[in-house]
Symmetry: C2
Subunit: 263 residues, 2 copies
């Protein structure tokens, strides 16, 4: 694709830069074609939260980090889009929380697995689970490629961070009693509704934020962490996120955005 | 990309089938990579109008067809996404309204032009404007590839149908006094706000609907047609479309319809 230079003062520069990263990821085989469409959907919802991390997302990020830090076997599931967007933050979060990175793809191809593993290694990852040379097990509740999971990773994990998830998989993971933490810009999606903790935010902002929280909370006591996790109400959080979107749209509708047409 | 078979009873079958058409279009060079992301954004907004053509879109389609039928030199601008999704409806609408099809691309490549021209011809088109072998002029108000337009098409047109448009181009067309009709699922986009008639709907549903209206209205008098065009209030229509989205989200949030803002 033709590369378009985005001027520094363009009002949508951040969003367009992120888009370039996803398109580059697609060219490198990291991002599936369907991942480009999924990213576009995310853009629309991000627009409706003002492309900013709000207080609700902060609370969810804190709870998510607390859940990872207090887990026995936390794991971070990696797909193409998250790898293309925030590889370094994934590695850092993994190190700070002791949650290994596991590649798990819906559109599996050996080339994609390799491209993602390479990108993670380039970002500093030393251990990557979920690759084809690793011992694996299957999640019987799931029919897609994603059913194959690493024996040392998702298979034995108690807390799974699954950013940018599909609904079927979230449901399957919940059925086998995993505690699921997700990042999803659509507060109405099945993933958002079925997860234990849903961060309604753009991963480009929330992954770095989780890294910050992990740095701050890593030495907290098990009790302090547990308090944060149990004090988090996902249903309330999602409903508030949705209200914020409604308020945004209402603002757009209320100010009479359109000028009179001269017909 | 791996083709995924969508079962007939899948709750999102229509949306997934449409997505397959866009991805196929991308593989055939018809759709630009950025077009995949744009489609994803559209999916999010379509979801918020319940993936159905509502009464507002019906009114806008009727006005759009009336504008095309009453124009001296109507034209239909064709990009990759619209060509991938509804090539046959484009051809039929073109025949019924006497508005030629003109290829006009943001991400221009000779291969893309050729792929789109071939798809249109396969769909029955006998005349295609905007190709590199045609006489052209430039729209000075526009800096992108899209500034080059066909001398017999957009250059001399009074009414331009530009489905799935970018804001800069809509603005440029309005500046040179074209009457712009667009189809855009985002009622807050610059394109939606700047156009004379904006159909807030999925092109997959609204193009066939326009064909139906064109068949019904093609023999109407100039006066009848003009009445429909002048009676259409784009500002009110957009504001109502936005209100419907707000009501949909409110329904999802379980808080009932939002009160009307007095502005």
């Amino acid at each position: 694709m033709t590369k378009i230079h985005v001027p520094a003062d363009h009002p949508r520069k951040d969003s367009l830069d992120i888009r370039e990263r996803i398109i580059e990821g697609h060219e490198k085989d990291i991002v599936a074609t369907a991942g480009l469409l999924a990213h576009g959907r995310g853009e629309a919802f991000d627009y409706m939260i003002g492309e900013q991390t709000n207080e609700l997302a902060h609370m969810a990020c804190r709870a998510a980090v607390a859940a990872l830090l207090s887990a026995k076997h936390p794991i971070i599931s990696v797909n193409g889009n998250i790898c293309a967007l925030v590889p370094r933050d994934l590695v850092e979060l993994s190190e700070l929380t002791g949650a290994p990175l596991e590649i798990n793809l819906f559109y599996y191809r050996a080339e994609r697995e390799e491209a993602i593993a390479t990108a993670l290694r380039n970002a500093g990852a030393t251990e990557i689970l979920g690759t084809h040379d690793r011992p694996s097990e299957t999640i019987p509740e799931l029919s897609s490629n994603r059913r194959k999971v690493d024996s040392e990773g998702i298979a034995k994990a108690d807390v799974v961070l699954v950013p940018l998830e599909d609904g079927d998989r979230t449901e399957a993971l919940r059925k086998i009693n995993k505690y699921v933490v997700t990042i999803d810009l659509n507060p109405m999606s099945r993933t958002a509704l079925l997860s234990n903790i849903t961060i309604v935010d753009n991963v480009v902002r929330s992954l770095p934020l989780m890294v910050e929280y992990a740095r701050e909370m890593r030495d907290w006591s098990a009790e302090q962490l547990r308090e944060i996790v149990t004090g988090f109400d996902n249903a309330a959080n999602l409903s508030k996120a949705l209200r914020m979107m409604i308020d945004y749209l209402s603002g757009q509708a209320g100010i009479g955005p359109v000028e009179e047409d001269e017909t």
